[in-house]
Amino acid sequence: MENPKSIVRINDRKARLVGIPAISLLITGMVHFDELHLLDTGLFKNLLLAFANTFLLWEGNRLIFIYARHHFPQYHQTSQRIVIQSVVSLAYTLLVSVTMDYWFCQHLLHINQEMSLLFGFRLALIPTAVVTLIYESVYFFESWKANVKRTEALARENVQSQLEVLKNQLDPHFLFNSLNTLAALIDENTDAQAYLERLSDVYRYVLVNRDKTTVSLEEEMAFLNAYIYLNKTRFRENLQVETHIAAAAYRQQIAPLSVQMLVENAIKHNVVSKDKPLIIKISHEEENYLSVENNVQEKTLFEKSTKVGLQNIINRYGLLTERQVEIIRDPAFFRVRIPLLQN
């Protein structure tokens, strides 16, 4: 993000070049209206005085404005900034007008005009307030514009990154056409054909169901069987999966890819070998839960688990049901219980 302190740049040169003489003229005209027709040195002196006053007040208050912006750049500091800026501005305006009236005019120039108390201050108050308000609103508008631009840029970037994600995704058309070509190439090898069919089933299921909130347990288990087939081709009898699910349970709903993710985690985190076969038990349990359990034989050299998979299941179920996903850790086994949902 842009450093907010660097924003305090005001493009007000023209405003100052025109505004300061204009206000000087206006004030002189208003205060010395009766003497205007004389056009004498007195009037000229008054004009110069008004100019000096306006110049000092404008420039000084402008600096106060800039410093206030600099020290309180954040939007949430606005009220704090405005209070402090107003107090300092008022004090400065008072100081300048009093100095000009009593010290400069009366002591140095010895102009002894009949003046009410703090006449210069009262006179300066309204133009100062108006000019400060203009600064405030122009500045507000500019930062609002900058903000809108930034939001737009952010949105563009967001779309761009989404586009990149999409680009990096393998086109499913290409994937399945390639698998079909591969099927033609491997021809008579029935094991390879069977593997390929399951592989394409697994990918198709992921593509079709990843956006669904729930699927039937039957669909998920058919997919899981294809997934297990692929893994058993790799691990053979070193991976054993047992399922105990009552026929009636197959009609219940489950979050898609949830059982598969648990099986995938079990294979990822544990040793699968001839001496230490990994045994995964998937069973329908009391209170309508589906339990996925495996014997724990953690890999020693294993990249630290990110816990994304399990957390993802917990989050998804948090949106689906009040019932909790239960995680049971034991030195000997690891078990996750996920609630089955009524159709």
């Binding site: 058309h173 079909n180 198709r204």
Partner: protein, 255 residues
């Protein structure tokens, strides 16, 4: 049994032929076509086969365009790798399809189903079924329906949109009335037609009528801001356009 394969990838076509032969040696493959263009040539010189296997995405477009041009009187089994929209439409219209990579079991099941269906379905039914698939597909390569297939006894009568005067509901049936006054039952509701027809050529006058522009013979002002129309060919009941629709109707007439 004569079978045609429309497929633009050689290994895929070869594998399909091999699989078909392994299911039933008596199936004769009469051609393997790789594009819409090749299919166009084939269909204009050959009689429809008994069965067609057709890929969806061909090198020069979607195979639906072929069936758009030729009302093919043969059952089609589509082969597709991943066309979500098409698959949805296949399911709705119960049109057979095979997912790639094609599995032997699924091919067997599809051929079995085809043989069963063949007993009581006529070629005209197949053509109508594909026609309704094309109506349901948003990606079928056409914007609006330009042609209707009307079943007359065992014949299929194609009617172009230029021949149509209006569609009118009577006794809960929708009747297609041609400019020459001939009438046919249309197998659509007016709401369906409203979506299918080109809105520049057809206008939904009221709950009973959708008319083509040349059928509007005279327009009279009716009380209460309504319009009363004379259509050609004449209707038995008077045709009114509501006040709300009147200005839309005038805009449409003026183009």
């Amino acid at each position: 049994m004569k079978t045609l394969i429309i497929e633009d990838e050689y290994p895929a076509a070869e594998r399909l032929q091999k699989l078909i032969r392994s299911v039933d040696e008596t199936i004769e493959i009469v051609g393997v076509l790789e594009s819409i263009e090749a299919a166009g040539k084939w269909f204009s010189t050959n009689r429809a086969p008994d069965l067609i296997f057709s890929d969806i995405q061909l090198s020069d477009g979607l195979s639906f365009q072929i069936f758009e041009t030729f009302s093919v009187k043969a059952p089609i089994i589509f082969t597709t790798s991943y066309d979500e929209y098409a698959i949805k439409a296949f399911k709705v219209k119960s049109i057979d399809y095979l997912l790639k990579p094609i599995k032997l079991q699924e091919l067997e099941a599809a051929l079995g189903k085809f043989r069963e269906m063949r007993v009581h379905a006529s070629p005209v039914d197949y053509a109508l079924r594909i026609e309704s698939l094309l109506d349901a597909l948003p990606t079928a390569g056409r914007k609006y329906k330009t042609r209707f297939l009307i079943k007359q006894n065992d014949q299929l009568l194609p009617i172009s949109q230029d021949e149509i005067a209006y569609f009118i509901t009577a006794n809960e049936m929708v009747c297609l009335v041609r400019k020459d006054g001939k009438q046919h039952l249309a197998d659509y509701t007016l709401d369906e037609l409203d979506k299918l027809l080109d809105p520049r050529l057809f206008f939904r006058l009221n709950r009973q009528l959708i008319a083509a522009m040349p059928a509007i013979h005279k327009i009279h002002s009716h009380f209460n801001g309504k319009l009363k129309l004379d259509l050609k060919p004449e209707t038995t009941q008077e045709v009114l356009v509501s006040r709300e629709k009147a200005h839309l109707f005038k805009d449409w007439m003026e183009g």
